[in-house]
């Protein structure tokens, strides 16, 4: 099974696990497998339209899936998928 690395602020929803084994043959499958195992993660990863929130970056190894096939990027047993947030904010102006 592929393994998905969880960033620190989301580990509170994976019972402290830094890495979760996920099922599926694509990155999209793996993300669905993650939220199936930890349903409270869904609201943090997906918006109301079911799209990944803008701070969610997914890497297969060192490659951003945006440069691959997005959520259709294939995964194989032993692949390491990394969930890495980008952080943004700012004042009202």
């Amino acid at each position: 099974m592929p393994a998905l690395k969880i960033p620190t602020p989301l580990r509170t929803y994976t019972n402290g696990l830094a890495e979760v084994l996920v099922q599926g043959v694509t990155v999209g499958d793996a993300m669905q497998s993650l939220v199936a195992q930890f349903p409270t993660m869904r609201q943090y990863l997906y918006n109301g339209e079911g799209q990944l929130r803008p701070f969610v970056n997914l890497f297969v190894g060192e490659n951003n899936i945006k440069d691959l096939q997005g959520l259709e990027t294939p995964l194989s047993d032993g692949d390491k998928l990394l969930l890495i947030p980008s952080i943004a904010g700012g004042c009202d102006a």
Binding site: P7, P9, L10, A88, G90, A93
Partner: protein
Amino acid sequence: MTLEIDDQTLKAIHAHGEEAYPEEGAGFLLGKSDPGRRRVVSILGLTNAREDAARHNRYLLTAADYLKGELEADRQGLELLGIFHSHPDHPNRPSEFDREWAMPWFSYIITSVHHGQAVESLSWRLSDDRAAFVEEIIQVISHQ
């Protein structure tokens, strides 16, 4: 909820906001957490990755920055506890944009910087339903 921070580290956060002025400055809070207790030990100040025209009211820390923060926390035997950023000439309260982009669990220290001088920092955490930020008290520990 209380966030402990020593006065030198808080000064470093203020200095980072003043250096970035009139743009927003940001970085990571590193420290230790136990149930009911969270203490910031050091910071990792970073370069605001937003484009030039937006840095006066927006900040961005990239995925590469995040990895840098995780690695630095590991190196120091600490955890990433949250984010600090400045609001130049604006109140130190989270904006709607801050909320939209907020991560759960993290502490968000916001420093108001007025005319180049850091005025005050407040800390916030996202509520469980993501609907709002809730203030957490900053307890400043005097550096001995």
